[in-house]
Amino acid sequence: MSFDVSDIKKDFPLLSCEEHNNSLIYLDSAATSQKPQKVIDAVSSYYEEINANVHRGAYRLAEKATTAMEDAREKISDFIKSERSEEIIFTKNATESINLVAKSWGAANLGEGDVVLLSSLEHHANIVPWHQLAESQGIEVRWIPLTESGLLDLTDLDRLLEGVKLVAVSGASNVLGTVPPVRTLADAAHAVGALCLVDASQYVPHRPTDVEELGCDFLAFTGHKMCGPTGIGVLWGRSELLEQMPPFLGGGEMILDVTQEGFTSNTIPWKFEAGTPPISEIVGLGAAVDYLESVGMDNVLEHERTLTTYALQTLKDRFGDELIIHGPHDVSVRGGVLSLAYQDIHPHDVSQVLDDHGVCVRAGHHCAKPLMKLLGVGSTVRASLYLYNDESDVDALADALEATGKFFSR
């Protein structure tokens, strides 16, 4: 272990609170993470000590609020190794970040017959905006197939890239845990004059992120899966692209000038941030970044790899063929998301009994119905790991699964 998980758990009040009798086994961080006390405190002290609207008042309190928000932007920029903090656009979640690219860049640059290439791993958030562009502008949505083990099948990549203007892929799958080779895809996209967007919702919270190393042009992620508040997401984009893109939403803050005849857009990032932003959430996300930096993202990655290895082995040893773990089993190409099928018990029924044992997992299609279809299932049980999980959580999952089997064979 690269850090002591029992110390980490103490940072998260919900994981140790009396109400749950210290017995909550939280294995649903791919849906949302728990929040450390430092983030909760940052949000409440923002309201207790700083609250004022940003970029408006000339009084000191308003200046303090603006500074708090822009400091957070700097932190988040550094966290993903962006060279310029104006490349960080605040949105309400990763879904909105991807929609911003589709509705702004996509609408201005894509037309009849242009292709957006997606991977077969995608979440609906990185599918539906492109389907909408197919409906409104006649673009084609094309798919990178999967191998048997749930990796991207890139054997036909050259052919798949014909006519492609954008490659939009998940940085890490929310269903199979698969971590696709983003750099390879970004380079291949650029070689044919296309751009590359990464849905990094399951990537940024779990491993060190360097946008230059990834080589992509847009990176979308959300705050609440990385120890931050809900309601705050991020779009990172290369400044030369953002500067050319038309605004997304119109309103206050995003303008330099408005007359009866028209408007002039503000500079980036504010051009894309119409209306009063979610200030306390931005400050909270800044605190989440501070927290994750203090633990160290290299340590988070190493911990999750060790724990995922333990989970794969434990589940294999205890359940053998009765339990299917979808996706790749090589931890160098996957994260800590485990999609399971247990005996012939429906995932919804499995999760109900697991809940009775205090184990929180997700059952369903995980907003990835095209992927479910490829797997030949309607839904899976998904257990997802984070920095505050340890071997005892995995053991509790295995014990509860065993009890589930017994319950339904009575």
């Binding site: 995932p347 029924d349 009775d356 299609h365 309607g378």
Partner: protein, 155 residues
């Protein structure tokens, strides 16, 4: 585990393992509707054949959890041979049963409304109301049956 055993009564698991009236009917003369639970991906198809205002045959098919599939199975046995009017009454009673939770939240008692006592085996699904997320599973087949009625009206 008392709550769980209340949810997964023996009769429910029996209908899940041995679904009654599973399959499809020829359309026409039958009508068909398809229901989805977007939350969990459960799907159910219901076919009904109506003669002289009486449900003479019904089949269901789909994929889903024990609650959605057993509820659909029990529904088929409850309404076969019934008039459309009687079926409307059964649907109403079943929905009453599924809304007891809301009533108890409003401070009412959790006792069964007298209008739901004619449901027979379906009464076993009462435990579902303690698990609000699962109510949508239990009502999936029923909502799909109502869609069949809309199809009938249109024809």
């Amino acid at each position: 585990m008392s709550g769980l055993e209340d949810l997964y009564r023996e009769i429910i698991l029996d209908h899940y393992r041995n679904p009654r009236n599973q399959g499809e009917l020829e359309v026409p003369p039958a009508v068909m509707a398809e229901g989805f639970n977007p939350l969990c991906g459960d799907e159910v198809k219901v076919h009904i054949k109506v003669d002289d205002g009486v449900i003479v045959d019904i089949k269901f098919d789909g994929q889903g959890c024990s609650i959605s599939q057993s509820s659909a199975s029990m529904m088929t046995t409850a309404i076969t041979g019934k008039t459309l009017e009687e079926v409307e009454g059964i649907i109403y009673s079943f929905k009453q049963l599924m809304s007891i939770h809301e009533k108890s939240l409003e401070g009412g008692s959790e006792t069964v409304d007298s209008s739901t006592t004619g449901l027979g085996d379906l009464q076993a699904l009462q435990g579902v109301v303690k698990f609000p997320v699962r109510i949508k599973c239990a009502t999936l087949g029923w909502n799909t049956l109502e869609q069949c009625f809309e199809e009938l009206d249109e024809n």
